[in-house]
Symmetry: C2
Subunit: 176 residues, 2 copies
Amino acid sequence: MSLRAVLLITLQREPGTGYDVLQRFKTGLAHVWQASHQQIYRELDKMRGAGLLDCETVPQAERPDRKVYSITPAGRAELDAWLAAPLGPSAVRQPLFAKFFIWEDWPAEARQRELASLREQLNARLQAYAAIEKEWFSDPQALTAAQRAPWHTLRLGQQLTETWLTWLEEIQAEGE
Amino acid sequence: MSLRAVLLITLQREPGTGYDVLQRFKTGLAHVWQASHQQIYRELDKMRGAGLLDCETVPQAERPDRKVYSITPAGRAELDAWLAAPLGPSAVRQPLFAKFFIWEDWPAEARQRELASLREQLNARLQAYAAIEKEWFSDPQALTAAQRAPWHTLRLGQQLTETWLTWLEEIQAEGE
DNA sequence: CACACAAATGCAACTAGTTGCATAATGCTA
DNA sequence: TAGCATTATGCAACTAGTTGCATTTGTGTG
């Protein structure tokens, strides 16, 4: 259901194609939602079938047609209903934590590789956040309420990543 | 794949039934992995079929048989392979963040309910952590290396939850 | 010129997880 | 004594997400 809602949100802001949505998921929305192109195309088609989206096919010279989706009143209603209902708790799945539960059998070198790899991932994430911040929220003082809200989500993302990194550094220091 | 690995870990520590594993997922492993009984039973049977687990059926007077699973050498090998390979990055899916991206159309009362509900969930999580800490790690000084590792995961869980709560309080304060 | 990449879409087969229902005994509570 | 929780298992149908492959044309790189 949540992918649907995210698609409705991005398309109510501005109609677009599956490919457009994919690009938004890769840049401005990267810390909010990620999905493969296959999933996006399939879901958009299902939503059109369910009457939540309209689809206008724009032929292009010598290239595959662009299918531009826009939200319908029914889609708008579904989005409003989703906004109104608080989200349920999400399931906990922490494969890394599981490895810590079998510490005795987790070879030291594998462990060090794992933690180094995680560290890279976390640093890469911080860089991605910085890029988004620079592009969209370069002046936090000048933000309107509507811009300020998504900016808060970026801040939380950064803070969570920093919490991870601090913990990681402690663990790595202890490992020597 | 990760559910498999988590099942291998819990069963190599001590053989048990699907029901046993479910109980462990509800208590000591609650911040590591959660899965429904259906998923667990199905996966255990598939793993037995793949030769990763042995199954011994223990009949009980007037109740359904207990099926006690234990890990085989093949299962052990699969677990070792999983431990050796660093985990890939996990997909980002933050439905709450998505709601912040449509702030203009997110009614204030729905928003307040959402944040209040989240706050309860986070506080409940902290309480669950405290219960686990009390039961398993009451004396952090006296922990062996093998106990110390899972204790670290609990600490990170707590710190992440606190990061969330601090952020939430800021957002709620700003909302007035 | 060959090769890779970007723009733009899609099918098919798979794995992972959810939801609803069902069974069957025991023990506890109103 | 009726109803509910616990112990213990499972099927069937569903939704969600992944992986591998395939098409067509332009544009840039070595």
